[in-house]
Symmetry: C2
Subunit: 261 residues, 2 copies
């Protein structure tokens, strides 16, 4: 105990590590993230984080759930304030977020706030579901000779409408990855047809990389029907592009044959 | 030794794990990847893989370099054949690749080839430098209220020309991440100006996430000059978008002030 007290006096600097927990499978976290969790005096974690990751915490670490659950929600400003409070009270705070903190993760907002209050800050990337969920369903985002790029977008804008990025994306050969788009499947399917891409292959991957992962494949035009039939829902990503049919050639032939009947 | 022989007889199935080693920092590898490496009888690794990762191999594991180095190169077909040969001779082969195997990694080609020869195959994602290199330079690919997407593209097509995806991307608010584009900086800067985006903020991150990481920031129009001045070269990624100035507000103000002189 004497040594520990001594150490705390030598390192009073409050600090924040914004850490990516990865896409779901708790083994898809990095060594660096585990080291940060193990050295933290407090861990603030989201609903999408597998709680088995908290086993990497030290015995005296405070584990604080800040995700959304029925009847309770933590605003971003409340989380920001809690980070600063805990860092000044305890030392090293880890903010553990599903996926990667900087890929639609608001990690930057937390870092900016913490910096303004004099905290040292650090970013530790996590595997983003934007490509890992597709990959775990045998769909690579790029295939040589097929496409040169992939475009990751949120389906739903802050005002609730469908992103305009999709209009531009559908004019390219890019693989389109749509997050938060499950409530826009009808609009997405319609837009694909408007750009003459109704026949292109598409996939929905639910719970990507996890034991309960589920996948549905169809033409882009049939996305909404397929999701209903397969009972697919959030958390899920939508992938639209030639790469889907290249990854699943046998399945794709069967789908095209059914579509022609 | 008796136990080992017994085990090998029980598990003769040749198999391939295509594994992402992450963006450079050897601590940015996942637990799952380390377990795969530790259980492999052979590891085939690329030039961009930090060789300290081979310390996770078991004592009898064959470690085979298949990257490019002066006077020596391994064709993709030679690598494919070697995977199958080693899997039938030894058992579990790990193909260890920089970044993520399915993000411009040709992982799919190796998996398809291996499957055709009866191997069991498995994909283990890695942290992609496409977002982690930017993040490690304090640049998040998305910021709420600034952009709704990011587009990751190869700057150079197989025929050597600049990707047409950039034309579409410059018409959106997407953060543009360009890999393999360091020999196209002049063309990229010109195209940004053509689309009225010469003044937008841009960054080049060399050796992202590594101890020797270097970063340069400029306007999109000034990318080529900045890279020369800062002596930035491959391996590097180019990031174009408002998010750069939001992440580095003080630095950005200074750059804009210089540009106006």
């Amino acid at each position: 105990m004497k040594n520990l007290t001594h150490f705390r006096k030598l390192e009073p600097q409050p600090r924040l590590s914004v850490v990516g927990a990865g896409p779901g499978d708790p083994e898809l976290i990095t060594l660096k993230a585990i080291k940060a969790i193990a050295s933290a005096q407090a861990v603030l974690y989201d609903a999408l984080v597998d709680t088995s990751l908290l086993e990497h915490c030290s015995a005296h670490c405070e584990k604080i759930f800040v995700g959304k659950k029925p009847g309770e929600s933590h605003s971003q400003s409340a989380i920001n304030a809690l980070i600063v409070e805990k860092a000044y009270a305890l030392g090293h705070v880890v903010r553990l977020k599903g996926g990667d903190p900087f890929v639609f993760g608001r990690g930057q907002e937390e870092i900016e706030y913490a910096k303004a209050f004099g905290l040292l800050t650090n970013y530790i990337p996590g595997i983003s579901s934007s490509y890992a969920a597709a990959g775990s369903a045998d769909i690579p985002l790029t295939v040589r000779g097929v496409n040169e790029s992939f475009w990751v977008m949120t389906g739903t804008k802050t005002d609730g409408s469908l992103t305009e990025d999709l209009n531009l994306g559908l004019q390219s050969t890019a693989t389109l990855v749509i997050l938060m788009g499950m409530n826009k499947l009808g609009e997405i399917a319609q837009l694909c047809q408007t750009y003459g891409k109704g026949d292109i292959s598409a996939a929905i991957i639910q719970n990507g990389t996890m034991a309960n992962q589920r996948i549905g494949i169809s033409t882009a035009a049939d996305l909404e029907n397929m999701a209903k039939k397969e009972e697919l829902c959030n958390p899920a990503i939508i992938v639209i592009g030639e790469v889907v049919s290249h990854a699943k050639p046998e399945l794709w032939k069967k789908i095209l044959k059914q579509a022609l009947l």
